[in-house]
Amino acid sequence: MENYIVEMLNITKEFPGIIANDNITLKLKKGEIHALLGENGAGKSTLMSVLFGLYQSEKGEIRKNGKKVTINNPNDANELGIGMVHQHFKLVEVFTVLENIILGVEPVENGLLELEESKEKIIELSEQYGLKVSPDALIEDISVGMQQRVEILKMLYKDNEILIFDEPTAVLTPQEIIELLQIMKDLAAEGKSILFITHKLNEIMDVADRCTVLRKGKYIGTVDIESTTKEELSRMMVGRDISFDVDKEDREPGDVILSIKNMTVASKTHKNNAVRDVSLDVRAGEIVCIAGIDGNGQSEFVYGLTGLEKLVSGTITLRGKDISKASIRERSASGMSHIPEDRHKHGLVLDYKLEENLILQRYWQPKFQKNHFIKFNEMRDYAEDLIERFDIRSGQGPTTMARSMSGGNQQKAIIAREIDKEHELLVAVQPTRGLDVGAIEYIHSQLVESRDAGKAVLLISLELDEVMNVSDRILVLYEGEIVGELDPEETTTQELGLYMAGAKRDTEKETRHAGE
């Protein structure tokens, strides 16, 4: 009998129209980092919510140190020493780090808050585990990585010994990810048991001891990381082989579809222009990628291009037609499709049904309306067609509320809508953000397919792998300017990194050449 600190045995949890967890068993050893791997919607978060007391399972039982326990709410979980860092932090922005950590377990003396002791304990903990934070800083003033450390400290402060991390790296920069993974290793070495929810295989290979894989709500298996490979894990997760390289043949680009000349876009956050004097061309049948570190003007570039923001100066020509001052609708109608960066803010009306979202760009076309009356039958048929062709999965088909769909399927819906719409130019902004490998592979294949169909594709991405694998041509955006043009066949990730960090740039002449 091995020494398991937590056992979740035969857990079954259902939601309307979907079995989120179907007879799942997960056993956590003391002092190990146990990864929980699965695609979006595989049931990882649900399983952890059951453990944390946010949901109650219909069947199955939970044991701690071999004894059966009932967890009805997060307080029960806390008493059993189970803590969780949620994907979206649960912090009070206007409180200090200290105040957030003691929230709920405030030490009181004669009816007044007694903070000194807690402060010492926090400083002690943060030194012990290398979690650098300043207890008196306001949450709203510190970085996301720092906020996450506060969440971890919260668990440690309450003496939790089982720590759940729900996709902790999704919000971090590469440097912060390295730090976090080190912190997790240290915690495990100190005897804490960690459950690590993720769909990033590299991170699992880096830190985890064992990994449990879920697929579509079912238990697939638990493997030792030492004796497995990335390929093996991804096969377990998706149920088929996944290629990490993007299949694509060389194509000779055709005519210029999109031509941007000296585009300048103002910034909303500071006085300087966020995009300065950018010129570029995108031809039919090529994928041009705009690479860069987040916050170098990518969002503003896209806003300017798609019409969400007015240009300060410059011209945009789409298929020979000047659209610099055209409305969003006019740009869309003249052949621009746009997969937006933020699918919840721009991409979807979450309280609309899937079918209503699928016609969001086209509801005004004669196909979907007559005399301003929406043709509901057409809408339904069209939605069913797209759902089938693009394999969009949801609880109730066309009438599913967009809000209730998984992130990957929401993105598929947007991609289906934008690709199926008549277009010559596809602007895809971080189309794979937050998605699992299966969905990423799918989206990359759709981009390549679009290119092969003779469309011009402009990809804006922060992921180096994506930039290198998918694009035919790379333009690097640094502080609002295009600082280099690279050929993914010839360049290396290191060189690309130097451009992105601003350490290297093409000479003036070369840059201008890039714009022609």
Partner: protein, 402 residues
Amino acid sequence: MQGNNNADKLKFNIKNITSHSGFKSLGAALMAIFLGLVVGFIIMLVARPENAIAGFRFVLLGGMGRLGDVLYFATPILMTGLAVGFAFKMGLFNIGASGQYTMGMFFALYVAFNWDLPGSTHWIVAIFAGFVGGMIWGFIPGIFKALLNVNEVITSIMFNYIGMYLVDMWIQNNGVMYNSSLTRTRYIASGVQIPALGIAGSNVNLGIIIAIIIAVILYIVLEKTTFGYELKATGHNKHAAEYAGMQGKRNIILTMTIAGGMAGIGGAFAILAPSAIAGSSMTYEPINIIAANGFTGIAVALLGNAHPLGTILSATFISYIQRGGTLTSLVGFKPEIIDIVVAVIIYFSAFAMIMNSAIARFIKARLGKDDEKPLQETDSENEENTVEDEEVIKKETEKEAE
């Protein structure tokens, strides 16, 4: 085999109906009404314990004997309810229904007194004038919101006052309309009054029928047209609406204008209503008071969940309970008590949705103990059970009424 299929289909349908959002909000509204009545009863019990039961009976049943009046008083608040609810669908809080209502009333009055038209069309033109007046008073806050991003709540509150003072001033300065010795407007000719429906002892008139037709038209606009699609999309997520190329500014102005028009028609309906006493008519007293019907419209829209058809029901209900409330004075209650009860109902409607799901959970827990149902069916059954529960509540209310 076939029977099985049919049964499946039927179950699917029931699930479809019970899980329909409109149905859920109706349930929530009923819940709110029930709780509001309970608290209302407690208030009456505290105020005058000896007459509380008699008074509460008037509240519940008093409207029964005066159904014509219920519909008559429901007419203007149905229109202001639509005015608030329609804008609410776009995420705009049109608190200016009072001003739009007053403006609509003035326009209708002006046409009634100053235009010479054949009797059969005069009242129709006057109603239309009210529509225009309300539209203007909705249009201006709309413009401010769309072009200058001024919060519509603030502008429309201001326009309640501006509208009311302007109308009072215009009326007092107009000898044709104003009877200064009686400090009210003069009687409107009977030909300009809206034809009565002929229910004895009540002023109920064609207005209620027109109002219901307008509600149905608004429902169709909201649910079936591209304009409604845009409007609701903007209400849910204005960023996505912008991304999809919808003209947000134009839609804001249009929505506020239509909403204002609704309230304006409400004002016209109120002033053009026929009088039971021959030779008289409705009158307006320019005494610097903001029209209460505008604010009641907010309550009506909230209780009706901003749904045009729900608004028909909620306007009728609030009118019903107000009619009953006025009767409580027979047993010594102030009519204000009914205002408190209505306010409580609105207050509860705000968290009625939460109550609804709490009850569903409670039943689920109880069911889970009683017997083990097949898992896949639990959800739809729970919803059905919630519904049954509401019917029980309804029965209880009726029982209390007796």
